[in-house]
């Protein structure tokens, strides 16, 4: 996936001289995750820049550059680092268009790596969509693999709004053939149905798309598996159409239950398709704990395909929301 990201940025940089890249060690070192491979070589140090460690400063500079005509692509190495820079994203960049009566645009793409699974520990393993959600004026997309990353990244760079693109870190090493060029672009705000099935609609995002598809393939049931792709705005049409058909909604999230994006999907569906649900909506999530380091614990923290299978099976058999795995675990001494 890191190659797809480099390629997407390179393609946009070729197409538009206003596209620049900023971040810590994105230039000479080509990015800590090699997501800007070849960019410095091809586009030079004026457009591809290593920054000091100062996320507020360079994200703010990117807001200013975007507001005056450039199209910066900013790397936030781990999404947690937005915690030192959120003001510029949410309170400045996201509100400039509004606060200029529509006369200033902020075509800014912020890429951030997210998620658990690589042993980076509690402060470098969250997904944190919740920090970005609920901010009108921002868009938010999440990549689920190489093709998805390529397509969303190109769309994000072309968009005239500030956009956060989250990249599940453990997918960087994933490889697949990617359609590049215009046909590879994935419009923002559109979900993608990955698997077709009957018994449920399972909405996944980022890292959980693959796990969910795997779960479905191995399961005794079949389901529509939807890669939401964009979270802000999210694609009601695709989700509603599917739920109207299957009658069951499941969301699969890598984040803790409380504050997770799944609640928004569930709340919307529960309100708008109330009569059409055959079973309670089920949210499959990580537990409400900081991400633990120990390898087995970290593995368990993320919803596995076995666990997804188990949970959906439970829902289908009983018509009720099954207990999450940790209820038993926490009970035991």
């Amino acid at each position: 996936m890191n190659q797809a990201i480099s390629a997407a940025i390179a393609d946009e940089m070729r197409a538009d001289p206003d596209v620049i890249v900023l971040g810590e060690d994105v230039a000479v070192a080509e990015g800590p995750f090699k997501t800007s491979a070849g960019l410095l070589d091809e586009f030079g140090p004026l457009r591809v820049r290593d920054t000091p460690i100062s996320e507020m400063g360079f994200l703010g500079a990117a807001v200013g550059a975007a507001a005056t005509g450039l199209r910066p692509v900013v790397e936030i190495m781990f999404v947690e680092f937005l915690g030192v820079a959120l003001d510029q994203l949410s309170t400045e960049g996201a509100k400039f268009h509004y606060l200029s009566g529509g006369r200033v645009t902020v075509p800014l793409t912020i890429r951030a790596s997210v998620g658990a699974g690589l042993g980076f520990g509690t402060q470098h393993s969250q997904t944190l969509e919740s920090w970005v959600m609920g901010t009108p004026g921002l868009k938010l997309a999440v990549a689920s693999g190489p093709a998805s990353a390529y397509g969303l990244m190109r769309a994000a760079i072309r968009d005239d709004n500030p956009i956060v693109v989250l990249e599940p870190r453990r997918l960087y090493a994933q490889r697949e053939d990617v359609t590049t060029g215009p046909e590879g672009v994935i419009p923002l705000g559109i979900a993608r149905q990955v698997v077709d099935g009957d018994d449920a609609t399972i909405v996944a995002l980022g890292s959980t798309v693959g796990t969910t598809a795997q779960a479905e393939a191995a399961a005794s049931w079949s389901a529509d598996v939807i890669d939401l792709q964009s979270l802000q705005p999210w694609d009601r049409d695709t989700v509603y159409e599917s739920v109207a058909r299957t009658g069951r909604l499941v969301t699969v999230e890598e984040n803790p239950l409380f504050g997770g994006w799944g609640a928004d999907i569930v709340a919307a569906v529960a309100a708008d398709l109330f009569g059409e649900l055959k079973a309670p909506p089920l949210r499959i999530t990580a537990p409400d704990v900081p991400v633990p380091f120990g390898k087995e614990l970290e593995e368990r923290y993320m919803p596995s395909s076995d666990y997804i299978n188990e949970q959906v099976t439970g829902l289908l058999h009983t018509g009720r929301v099954p207990s999450p795995w940790w209820e038993a675990e926490k009970g035991s001494p």
Binding site: I20, L46, R47, R49, T51, P52, S54, M56, G57, F58, L59, G60, A61, A62, V63, G64, A65, A66, A67, T68, G69, L70, P72, V84, D87, Q88, T91, E92, K95, F96, H97, Y98, L99, S100, G101, G102, R103, V104, T105, V106, P107, P136, G137, K139, D159, D160, N161
Partner: protein
Amino acid sequence: MSMPDNRLERRQALHEDRRARYERMVEIRALENKVQDLFDEGLVHGTTHLCLGQEAVAVGVAAAARVSDTVTCTYRGHGVALALGLTPVDLLGEILGREIGSIGGIGGSMHLCEPDVGLLPTFAIVGAGIPVAAGAALTAQVRGTDDAALAVFGDGSTNIGAFHEALNLASIWNLPVVFVCENNQYGEYSRIDLTTPVDDIAVRAQAYNMPSEVVDGQDPDNAADAVAAALMRARTGGGPTLIEMKTYRYAGHSRADTAPYRPEGEFERWYEKDPIVNYGRQLVDEGLLSGDDLDAVKTLVDESIAAAVETVLASPAPPMAAMFDNVLAP
């Protein structure tokens, strides 16, 4: 004497004509006093932060910068906005939340904007405009123009991280940006020495190997010259500068604050350096204006502000649907 109401002409005048600088300072003061009156009359929803006493800094900055430069400024931005070329109607319209305001009454006193004269949306978050100005300078650098950017901010803002990060970035990238600190001696209700352990903000530039200067901010020519020199350095590849303008906030921090925390006699001492009184006197001494001219300026300005108030009060509130506009760019 004339008062252009076209924004670009208003701006142009400051470059060419020192009498226009005087006029503009008088206008800023009159507008701010009017805002306070309107506030006291209950006509201003929310809050205001007046720049009374700091008129020369605003005019100096605007006189030195050109319209293709980008300026970021704070909530205490009425003066800077007027000086850059916005009209009293633009401002009062916005402050009073009318459709005719700078951004249609959606922003209020703290959120003014006018891209035509280089003003990005003003910032209600302390320090936030500083890195953004560095970013505007980055645009000029990447595009190879000789435009520059200016950040205008307060003394208290130099204690926040964004200031530090922006100055460091600007220095290491040699960005064409001028950081203008309006040291008005207070951050909210606290005298600067209670929050800031240096006498001169300007020394902070040393931490970034950046040139800096302490400037008397009560003289518009002085202020303009300092900014112009820094801008010239910026445009010619010499990188950023930090300019500390020593000035004084005549009013309280905001709204109904009467500044009871101010030591006895402080205001009076600063008033001896009043930019309008002194600059007026200077122009008279130089024979550029007569004493009668000064009175005429005041009269003209008062009339124009009164007319602006009238225009604004006759302007409708923004339609309800306006709140849904411009959330996202198409």
